[in-house]
Symmetry: C2
Subunit: 210 residues, 2 copies
DNA sequence: GTCTATAACGTGATAGAC
DNA sequence: GTCTATCACGTTATAGAC
């Protein structure tokens, strides 16, 4: 605390400003379409600063991408592997955490999926969770429930596709859905809030469908 | 029929070759990351030909984009507006047509969604169906079923999100899902084939969930 | 119609003054 | 640390020979 440093830009320094601007522009346009000049302008400063702080567009992108992936992971991993929560509870937690995340950063899902398409393997390598999902507590619980006849669809992958589809698609198709339903941002977000409660109910019905 | 023309490249002319190559490259990389040189090389010919036939990268892209959108539409529109098929039948038709389409062109959904993000409004204007969905026979049937107590969720938009999410997400997240489930292309496509039958069943369960 | 060579331009990155 | 000016390079597009 004490006294503020007597520098020109006190609280949010330029490095943070550039990073915030980079996140915005990269998420919105993707790596290839984003121009370093866009980012500099968005940050309200000169292009040269970007290279001064981050060396290159590529380096800056890696940073933003890593944080985006980390955002995806921190939710997933812990929930999936917790042996002390039921399958139902896990679904509730995943729906709630992801929808909250995507309401805050609506461009995140499409950004990550698009960049995986381009940079493919390199990015997927950085997702350790991806390799462990099929051994998680979640999967074991699912398979147990199948054996006990509580679930009709035997393949957990179908279930994951359904759950993630219901959660992610509205954000991927956001612009189109706003147009279809003539929704403004507030109305759209309200729908997403509803889905936090509804998805677990729907998913439970799917599990017992036949 | 008669005799073939005595030209060098008989059946598939260069224009078609370039278009096919452009579709491949644009779908895979998106507009910004795609280079005209990539397209020319993919078509097995020189860069100059591309400009000779299509004037510019932008023009060629517009063409590919338009066809991609048309692919989306021709399925949608007719099915949604047919007053002589039941709600259940419509779901079956949509699931089947879209999954067949996406198995043939797996990059299509992510391509269209990504480019809508970048080019936004301009592209959505070209989707007349988008504006008419909420007045379609499909929606009227849905609302009627809600009134009759056959459906618990009153908002058709939630239903559309769920249906499209289940259909589209596996292709959007294809690379990730292959990794998660350690699936090769054949196994992945087999899963998608299964989903053609399963999605209508699941969706029916969702409609009655409470 | 198809090619090679090159022009015209946009973008990422750096030099150097302040 | 921050700016302006500029370089270096890759990419789109075109000119012109064949």
């Amino acid at each position: 605390m004490a006294a503020k440093k007597n520098k020109q830009t006190p609280d949010f320094n330029t490095e943070q400003k550039i990073k915030a601007a980079a996140r915005l522009v990269f998420h919105k346009k993707g790596f290839a379409a984003a121009r370093t000049r866009d980012i500099a302008e968005e940050a309200g400063m000169n292009l040269a600063l970007l290279n001064y702080y981050f060396r290159s567009k590529e380096k800056l992108f890696q940073l933003i991408m890593f944080e985006a992936i980390a955002g995806f992971m921190q939710n997933m991993g812990a929930v999936f592997n917790d042996e002390n929560t039921s399958l139902e509870k896990k679904v509730e937690l995943i729906a709630e955490k992801y929808i909250d995340l995507f309401i805050m950063e609506p461009e995140l899902p499409l950004f990550v999926m698009s960049e995986i398409r381009s940079h493919g393997a390199e990015i997927l390598e950085k997702l350790p969770t991806v390799n462990t999902i099929m051994q998680s507590a979640f999967i074991k619980q699912y398979q147990k429930a199948v054996k006990e006849g509580k679930i009709t669809e035997p393949k957990p992958l179908h279930f994951i596709m359904n759950l993630m589809g219901m959660i992610v698609f509205p954000f991927i198709g956001g612009p189109m859905l706003r147009k279809v339903g003539k929704l403004n941002d507030r109305q759209f977000n309200k729908l997403m809030q509803e889905r936090k409660k509804l998805i677990p109910i729907w998913v439970k019905a799917v599990l017992k469908a036949k």
